[in-house]
């Protein structure tokens, strides 16, 4: 009888605490890896590592942040092992640094953005530097606070804010460049 009660308790706890975040971990893995197959492997490795340390997990802390921190560290480890760390200055970041779009404002951003397919938006995100990509994903998609993202990425809150701002500018540049290629800006008379 005790076993049954304990089993039910663990089932409930594990489901509530860890596996309910499977989607969030997988999405973050997809944002980092850019490919579904790699994302699945990355998410799986993350949960296996989480299992290893589940006994030490503080039930009163934020499990989603805990899992995402494991995910980030796993991703960094994989990059190091494979020696394929992302390009030092991805194209979009370079454009952002050059300030081509920094001082301009889209006149009708919502309509412009509706032209993009989901894959194009995710593709543009994938062109950002790793830490920018993860930071913007966590803030915008997962809706985490700057403090939570700071905890996950291991940097100061101020760094998260500035990184988010730069990432958003870089993403805007990528999308703006694509909009110009497609002729959307001209046709619809956006002021970019």
């Amino acid at each position: 009888m005790r076993k049954t009660a304990a089993a039910k308790l663990l089932t409930s706890e594990f489901e509530n605490v860890a596996l309910q975040h499977l989607d969030a971990v997988y999405r973050a893995a997809y944002a980092l890896a850019g490919r579904r197959e790699t994302a699945e492997d990355l998410a799986q490795t993350t949960f296996v590592k989480a299992m290893e340390h589940f006994g030490s997990f503080d039930m009163n802390s934020n499990c989603k942040a805990w899992l995402l921190r494991i995910l980030r560290n796993t991703w960094i480890d994989q990059l190091r092992r494979m020696r394929i760390a992302g390009p030092a200055a991805p194209l979009c970041e370079s454009i952002a640094a050059a300030g081509t779009e920094q001082d301009s404002v889209w006149s009708n951003p919502q309509d412009l953005l509706e032209n993009f397919a989901d894959e194009q938006v995710i593709g543009a995100l994938s062109r950002l530097a790793d830490e920018q990509r993860l930071t913007l994903f966590l803030v915008d998609v997962e809706g985490l606070s700057h403090e939570e993202v700071a905890e996950i990425t291991g940097v100061a809150v101020g760094t998260v804010k500035s990184r988010t701002s730069r990432a958003r500018a870089a993403l805007k540049n990528c999308l703006a460049a694509r909009a110009r290629e497609m002729g959307w800006a001209g046709e619809r008379r956006w002021t970019i």
């Binding site: 076993k3 304990a6 089993a7 308790l9 663990l10 089932t11 706890e13 594990f14 489901e15 596996l19 499977l22 989607d23 971990v25 997988y26 999405r27 997809y30 699945e40 799986q44 949960f47 296996v48 299992m51 290893e52 340390h53 589940f54 006994g55 030490s56 997990f57 503080d58 039930m59 009163n60 404002v105 889209w106 006149s107 951003p109 919502q110 953005l113 509706e114 993009f116 989901d118 894959e119 938006v121 995710i122 995100l125 913007l136 994903f137 803030v139 915008d140 998609v141 809706g143 606070s145 700057h146 804010k161 500035s162 988010t164 701002s165 958003r168 500018a169 993403l171 805007k172 999308l175």
Partner: protein
């Protein structure tokens, strides 16, 4: 006029904090536009990921990986021992570790119904290959049809025995509290099971949709088996085997054309 900094705008997006920012916005059209643009980008990014979900098979894979290495059990024991010694373990974590020793990883298989359904489909295929549990080793389509009619109440569609295809037998099995018809087809690419169930593919955790010939095919995988399902009438026909998704779809397509 000093406009809001990029950081102040990010703070407004994140939590709407900053009274000074709000006051400034009421009198500054440019900063309102800048904020609207950033919010639109954030919203579009969020929407783009809305359709991204972990495959149902991933939960099962995590369970398999964990069981293969006994990570949960070993990790929980090690951590519990270390932390008990250090006197830092919380009551909740202690309960968790103790319970982990009792139930271990197999629970993970059954935490979600879709994963369980996919695992059950793979299990039926596995039973079919072992020809156990009431499997009828019969290759005559008419005999198989008669068997299904008697035990299942209707005749599922069977492939035409040509182009290297051969029926190997059939059975009726329990699936998720219901009755499912199942038969085995030998193909040039390997052995597959066709399992006929009442549930929709999506409700079984098949999330990868392929549109082909005006029909929606749903893909999944469990362990070494690939799966494809398509609705034919009131039933879902699930093709399961260590065969490519494309080939499984080809066979289901031939059933649809009948």
């Amino acid at each position: 006029m000093d406009h809001l900094s990029e950081i102040e705008l990010e703070e407004l997006i994140a939590d709407g904090s900053g009274d000074a920012g709000h006051i400034h916005l009421t009198g500054c059209a440019l900063c309102r536009e800048r904020l609207a643009e950033k919010r639109a980008i954030a919203r579009r990014l969020r929407d783009a990921f809305e359709g991204i979900h972990a495959p149902a098979s991933l939960g099962a894979r995590i369970g398999l990986a964990g069981r293969a290495s006994d990570r949960l059990e070993d990790g929980a024991v090690r951590q519990a021992t270390q932390q008990r010694g250090a006197g830092r373990r919380s009551l909740a974590a202690a309960i968790s570790a103790a319970a982990a020793l009792i139930v271990a990883i197999p629970l993970l298989f059954y935490l979600t119904t879709p994963s369980t359904a996919i695992a059950d489909l793979a299990n039926i295929h596995s039973h079919n290959l072992s020809e156990s549990g009431g499997f009828i080793s019969e290759t005559d389509p008419e005999m198989l049809a008669a068997y299904f009619k008697e035990h299942l109440g209707f005749n599922p569609r069977l492939p035409e025995p040509n182009h290297g295809l051969a029926l190997r037998g059939c059975c009726v099995r329990h699936f998720q509290g219901d009755i499912a018809g199942s038969y085995v087809v030998a193909t040039p690419d390997g052995i597959m099971s066709i399992i006929v169930v009442r549930r929709a593919p999506q409700s079984m955790g098949m999330t990868e949709r392929i549109d082909r010939g005006g029909h929606a095919y749903w893909r999944s995988a469990f362990a070494t088996s690939n799966m494809v399902s398509v609705k034919i009438g009131d039933y879902s026909y699930c093709a399961v085997g260590e065969i490519s998704h494309g080939y499984l779809e080809d066979l289901l397509s031939s059933l649809l054309e009948q």
